[in-house]
Amino acid sequence: MSDIKDISINDSGTIKQIDQQTRERRLEYMQEALKMADEAYEASEVPVGCVFVQNDRIVGQGRNETNITKNGSRHAELVAIDRMLASGSNFHLDDFKTTDLYVTVEPCIMCASALRQVGIRSVFYGCANDRFGGCESVLHVSSDQGLDGLPYYSEGGYCRDEAVLMLRRFYVRENTTAPLPRKKANRVLKTEDLDIRRSNK
């Protein structure tokens, strides 16, 4: 996929080569995040999903729950964090220092701030979030100085097209089933500009 860069820029701003194996592993985790997004889609929630990974192990997962909870702040990231920090879980706040987030859509401003405040190590995401994005699209909450919590490294473009397709499917379905159907253009699923290879597992 053309979106995935061979290089990645680390915290200190230097460019480091990431090996094929690392990249493939990140794509695999993103596939897990996409599964969570798919679960959200099936539950009529905006299809965004995520997994948290520590020491090559998935230690948390979540998906959007804003409709079912009637709470506009129940985004995938916060849902997962709440589960991870729930009493009885083996995961502790300190563990975020060595944990990475894989989320299908760029975290919004709220989640980007929450991720600073728990002290996440780095964030990998699929597509940009043009309306609310807090890592690059609207604001740079992830890297700005002087905010609560710690800045973290973030990078988009992992399985971007699949994340975009999932969102488009959702909005086409919403527009088609709306009491007053929207313009025809909004009810047609566009895919020709996307390069979807589900086969890369």
């Binding site: 709470n71 506009g72 702040s73 709440d82 405040q117």
Partner: protein, 301 residues
Amino acid sequence: MGIECRGEYILNRVLVEEEKQRLQTQDVYICKISAQQTSRILQFIALQGTEWESAEISVQKVPSFPPYTKEQFDEWKQLWPVAYRPLVQLKPVQLDDDERAYINENLSVVSQLQAKSDSEGNRGSAVIVGSPKAREAIVQSTDMTHTLVHPLKHAVMCCISKIADIELDKKKQGCFGDQCTNDNTNDQSEVQLVPAKRAHTPDIAGTPLVTEQISSANDIEDNAMEFTSGYLCGGLDVFSSKEPCVMCCMALVHSRIGRLFFIDPSESGGISYYSINSRKALNHNFTAFQCTLTSTQNLTP
């Protein structure tokens, strides 16, 4: 609520995004041709022959936005011709006595909740969400990060959860938002339901999300069922003893609140740092007020 008001709060509307913008500059080249690159300018100069031999190229910075306030205009016009259209002056906040009392009371309560919470070793803010229409508090919370050992359980987030749970309770009782049938009024916000008292609100993991710490909270919870309706926290008022952080301010945008009143500002807060309440890029804006207490007690020596 039996709250002793310690004085009157002065409400200052917080500056909106544009009013706070500072001089930002862009490099421009002024030349007879439309050259985008230094190399092209140099090329152009070379072609002019001896006439341009002594020409000096200098780079000057000029404003990249039109000024929004008079102060910006006075500063920026020194550098570059800029147009300034004075704004339709934003009127000072007009409040009738009832509304002033409602705002004063809720600010007094959050300030007292905060003091109590501080004395118990917590550090965050105290928040009340109220209905501007009924002029009554709906839910309240103090910061729960310490109690729940969870760094994100700020008072604003806890209040948003409580409002959501009230909505869910309504749904459980067979009242589904728009289809809500109500005999004597068409107004959705006047739905009369008997409030169900809950000891605590379970979160998704089944642990108590919010436990009542303040006894005066009960009458607030009693009002709770009646005044929320429609979309999330749409149009509600939020009173906070401290300026909410970036996460909380954005949660308020997602919840579509109407007004935010806070007492202590914070440099890293979502309003001071990013003007989250007034950013054009976001799909919802709200008015924010920074409120200062003019206490008669403070005036006496």
